[in-house]
Amino acid sequence: MTAIRRWQIALMIVGVAFLALGGIVLLTDIKPTRYLGIAGWFVGALIIHDGIVAMVIFGVSVIMRKFGRRIPGVVIAIVQGALVIAAIVAAIVVPEILKQGIGTANPSILPLDYARNLGLFYAGLAVVTGLAIAGYLAIFARRQKLRPSISHD
């Protein structure tokens, strides 16, 4: 038996033991009437992941594949990166803004102006992204100028 095989077996045993433990906690600590709610969240997670987010990312990937070729790769990477950062920060902060709108138990919970802060963050992100692209294109243009003179020597 190889080392990898031995590790696989050990990990499988640990994994199944933990799953069993999770099942026991679920059965003993939580009322059966609540299982449907947990199952609903699981199904919801799979639907949102496989059905909605996956399809949106698929669409974006395909569009980038088609139209991305005309633009320098680094510029695409910078723009894509900025959009991904914006989306992930929104995933964390937008629920916070929504809950703040509903109201909190006391004023020290969610005390900041998150909508304004998100706007400021996006403004900063846009500026940094613009500077990064401009900086890259400036270097790119300089290299383009330098290249022929080197080849003449």
Partner: protein, 444 residues
């Protein structure tokens, strides 16, 4: 006609369209390592927080350093937030696997995919309910948060172990960078993936003769991949090689995940770690905001104690079997007063140091003849709370820093901070720093 083979072709086309330089096993291994580390950190700190609240018989906890719980729970929440970019990155890297053909090849393959479905769903639910809990958005939970979060932690870690077992060959092949790329900078491919090759003759072609680029979807995918007509102008010597382009794409991916992770820590971790306080713009709590400059979780109004806590005949009953002593507020003030600098550290991750003044708990329980190893049952005036009655273990009871605090930052306790008297102990979760004290019972 031939629905199976049409589906196969569609899935091939999907996978082909999704092929990208950053979507490769090496990326999955690099991100997977970080995500596994974040999961294990969350699990370890979560288990610590669970058992310090519900200790098993015989368990004892450290009372020093005083910031132990604050840091442990701050790590729990911060690492939990970092799981979002990491899990998105991981799912992005393995995205084409969602469209494998045939969807199920064998019983072991079914088990593998089913375990991944549970792993993904459990992980997404776990980090999402954790985040929403820090926003106190309980209305979204049709289940008790704490028990569910606890049960799912075992499901997540168990699924993680199984996932690592299943992928161990791939993980070991792509563990090191030098084994993952050849001298040209191309990814080393161990198992050729027929799905990723666009014009691979497939079963539908054999049966019907239709090439890959026929039909609506086929034409669409072919159009997507059509190379641009115009060739780069001559003399444009900076045209990059495919390896360089791929490297740019891969680096862009990792830099993005690094930047978004850094941004999330910078802009939220101030709720747990003072060094980030100045940049805390997204944390659900902010240091210095709250009554007497300290955040509050449960207010006196919510706990329905305004009347009982401000009553002139309030007193603290301390008992040990048949021995009972009743302390009025003035009598507590007349005892030796100690000053301590201790953090309030909430299970939700926020924490803040404060200056507390009051008699020592150990001196109060000694006045009724408590033994050194005795546990103390603490009862609050608060209503409708599972934390109204809690037990404090001897190591915390006997600690010199554990006070029955009467004052906060030099002022009489605000009613929302537990007036007339509250517990403050080192390295304990905020939910056990009982406010609006009513009785202290020394247990056998």
């Amino acid at each position: 006609m031939h629905p199976t083979w049409r589906l196969q072709r569609l899935l091939h086309q999907f996978r082909h369209a999704l092929a990208a330089p950053s979507r490769n096993p090496r990326t999955a291994v690099v991100i997977g390592r970080l995500l596994a580390a974040a999961f294990l950190l969350c699990f370890a700190t979560g288990i610590y927080s669970h058992f310090i609240q519900d200790p098993l018989p015989g368990m004892a906890f450290l009372t020093r350093p005083v910031w132990l719980y604050q840091v442990s729970q701050g790590i729990h929440i911060t690492a939990g937030i970092l799981c979002f970019p990491l899990i998105f990155a991981k799912l992005y890297a393995v995205f084409p696997e969602l469209f494998q053909t045939p969807p199920i090849r064998s019983f072991p393959h079914f088990l593998e995919r089913a375990s991944i479905a549970i792993f993904v769903a459990a992980s997404l639910v776990q980090i999402t309910i954790g985040l929403l809990n820090t926003y106190q958005w309980y209305a979204l939970f049709p289940f008790p948060f704490r028990q569910t979060h606890f049960a799912l932690s075992f499901v997540v870690i168990g699924s993680l172990a199984i996932h690592i077992a299943v992928k161990l060959t791939t993980i070991s092949r792509y563990w090191r960078k030098k084994d993952s790329f050849d001298d040209n900078g191309d990814l080393v491919v161990y198992d050729e993936d027929p799905d990723a090759v666009f014009d691979q003759p497939d079963e539908l072609r054999r049966l019907t003769g239709k090439p890959m680029n026929s039909g609506i979807t086929g034409r669409m995918f072919a159009w997507i991949d059509k190379e641009p007509e115009e060739t780069p102008p001559p003399g444009k010597a900076t045209q990059k090689t495919p390896q360089q382009e791929a490297q740019t794409s891969r680096r862009g991916f990792f830099v993005t995940i690094g930047l978004v992770s850094a941004a999330l820590v910078t802009f939220t971790a101030g709720q747990s770690f003072r060094v980030f306080d100045a940049t805390n713009i997204f944390g659900p709590r902010k240091n210095d905001i709250g009554p007497q400059g300290l955040p509050v979780n449960r207010t006196a109004k919510a706990a329905k104690v305004i009347e009982s806590a401000t009553s002139t005949d309030w007193n603290l009953t301390v008992s040990n079997g048949d021995v009972t002593r009743v302390y009025s507020y003035q009598q507590l003030q007349a005892m030796p007063q100690y000053e301590v600098e201790l953090p309030i550290a909430c299970v939700e991750g926020w924490s803040q140091y404060a200056h507390w003044t009051g008699p020592r708990l150990s001196e109060l329980v000694d006045s009724v003849g408590a033994k050194r190893g005795a546990t103390v049952r603490i009862t609050s005036l608060e209503q409708n709370s599972s934390y109204a009655v809690t037990e404090m273990q001897p190591e915390f009871v006997r600690d010199d820093l554990t006070l029955v605090a009467l004052a906060l930052n030099g002022e009489t306790l605000d009613i929302d901070h537990g007036y007339p008297a509250r517990i403050i102990a080192p390295a304990r979760p905020g939910v056990l720093q009982t406010k609006w004290l009513s009785t202290l019972e020394v247990m056998a």
